[in-house]
């Protein structure tokens, strides 16, 4: 019990320290820089560096591993920022090169967990590369996300099959608590996250022509999104990182990268919200030793956000 509390305390402390310092910094920043893409970039870069700084303050050993993970985080940060800038071409090139070279880095190590960790980062980057495969007329359609996320799930399944990783190793099983309880907790937590996310994004969606489209979109997409992203971030990245560094740090870093992958919304507070939500999902994944709660919460959060954005946004 004490161990569990200390894990929660350490993880949340790290997040709060980063958040508080960032908030001060951000409100000083907006005094000098007008709302722009530049401000968005500066904010995300600052928040990432601040978070990494706090991690380096508390670590005691394995500095090389932390440096390696920080390097990955910064590379992902650069890649994501390039993707949303007018230098998107370099972002895509970096993305493809990283998919090849990140796994190759692990050839210098005999650590199997490190190998899978790097490969999971490459898989996370694949989530961007899959877009390259589809023509624009297809992607504009409301159903494109169903295909994209199905495609991503297929790549994850292929990877797990080739590496012969059992479901239990990525927490894709019932875990140590009641299944029903995990689902209920997940759904409730997700609703809160979804409402908060709506107030951050003020999203309004008018893509749909009829109710059938809405139902198809919301149900299928959000199930697929929940599964794909949770397997990647919590199931693979966080789980294998936990085997290398202390658990609070693993949860914290996995959430940081999860937040960075939300830079495309062009809203720094969405990055931080995703970061916080990632921490909650990560803690649930750790304590239940299962992805059921994170997947349910992710599903419920996205469904709440989209339903508000479709039906209630003015």
């Amino acid at each position: 019990m004490e161990d569990s509390l200390s894990i929660i305390r350490s993880t949340v402390n790290l997040f709060l320290f980063s958040l508080i310092f960032f908030s001060f910094y951000y409100y000083i920043l907006i005094l000098f820089i007008p709302y722009s893409l530049f401000l968005h970039f500066i904010s995300i870069i600052s928040f990432t560096l601040l978070s990494l700084f706090f991690i380096f303050i508390v670590i005691k050993d394995k500095i090389k591993i932390y440096l390696l993970i920080s390097f990955i985080t910064i590379i992902i940060l650069i890649e994501e920022l390039l993707l949303i800038s007018l230098y998107v071409m370099y972002g895509l090139i970096l993305n493809i090169l990283l998919i090849i070279f990140l796994p190759l880095f692990t050839n210098f190590s005999r650590n199997k967990n490190l190998k899978i960790l790097f490969e999971s980062v490459a898989l996370i980057l694949i989530s961007r590369t899959v877009l390259v495969a589809f023509p624009s007329q297809f992607l504009i359609s409301a159903y494109s996300m169903i295909i994209l996320y199905s495609f991503l799930l297929i790549t994850i399944v292929i990877y797990l099959y080739i590496r012969k990783i059992p479901n239990e190793d990525i927490r894709l099983y019932k875990g140590n608590s009641s299944l029903l309880l995990q689902i209920i907790i997940g759904l409730i937590v997700g609703i809160f996250i979804g409402i908060t996310e709506y107030y951050v994004l003020k999203l309004k969606i008018t893509l749909f022509e009829n109710l059938l489209q809405v139902i198809l979109y919301v149900i299928f997409v959000m199930i697929l999104v929940g599964f794909a992203e949770e397997i990647l971030f919590r199931g693979m990245f966080q789980t294998y990182l936990e085997k290398i560094i202390p658990k609070p740090h693993a949860i914290f870093l996995a959430s940081l990268i999860f937040g960075l992958m939300h830079s495309g919304w062009l809203n720094p507070w969405e990055v931080i919200l995703a970061y916080g939500a990632g921490l909650v999902f990560g803690l649930f994944a750790y304590f239940h030793d299962s992805l059921v709660t994170p997947i349910s919460a992710h599903f419920s959060g996205n469904v709440t956000l989209y339903l508000i954005a479709i039906f209630f946004a003015s």
């Binding site: 409100y27 907006i30 709302y35 722009s36 893409l37 401000l39 968005h40 993707l83 949303i84 998107v88 071409m89 895509l92 090139i93 993305n95 493809i96 090849i100 796994p103 190759l104 050839n107 490969e119 490459a122 898989l123 694949i126 961007r128 590369t129 899959v130 877009l131 390259v132 495969a133 589809f134 023509p135 624009s136 297809f138 992607l139 504009i140 409301a142 494109s144 996300m145 297929i154 790549t155 292929i158 990877y159 080739i162 590496r163 107030y199 951050v200 994004l201 003020k202 999203l203 309004k204 969606i205 008018t206 893509l207 495309g264 919304w265 062009l266 809203n267 720094p268 507070w269 969405e270």
Partner: protein, 214 residues
Amino acid sequence: MGYAISVGLGFLIGLLFRISSMRNQIFIILAYKGYSFLIKNTIGTIENLGEAKKIEKYKYRKIYIALSYNILTVMDKIRLGLIVISIIAIIISIFIPPAQLVGLSTILGSTILGSTVLGSTILGSTVLGSITLTTVYAETYYNTLLNALYIAQILLSITTIGLLIYLEITHQSYGNVKRKYFEIRNTLLPMGIILALIFFTIITLKAIVIVTGT
């Protein structure tokens, strides 16, 4: 498996893109590799049957003999079939007119952003002092993105072809491979297959676009 992917890939590339001499070289290399691999397997099997001397002088009839003895495995037959297909592909691709590369265009990042941009023309938000971007940026960005995706497609294709050739030539069935190269092969295998899947999707969708003209 690796060879099957490589030749199938070569066939599709040749048929759809006509990358002139480079395409033919890839075909010839793959066809030769597959052929020599097949010959090696066949000889091994035939030697076991004590037939080696009889066919020694008829090198190019070995496959025919192997087929008539019915000693090829299913995989060998698939390889043989793919070699034939790739040869046909070379011939066909010489005669068909070159197809136009259809520019790829997608929406970046997450399609969620795309749906926000294209669906409701809202970019960013004004909550908590976040960013409001003009539609001018969205338009500029979208145009840049179209070009970027086109280049990324080409890069991905070249990378995947390179990866598949590497995975193929470092396969142990072609003979001893240095441990270092074999380890790299094992490391690259999952991503190679996933990239090949994406590449096949690009090719298939391009074929659909070309055939249907949409």
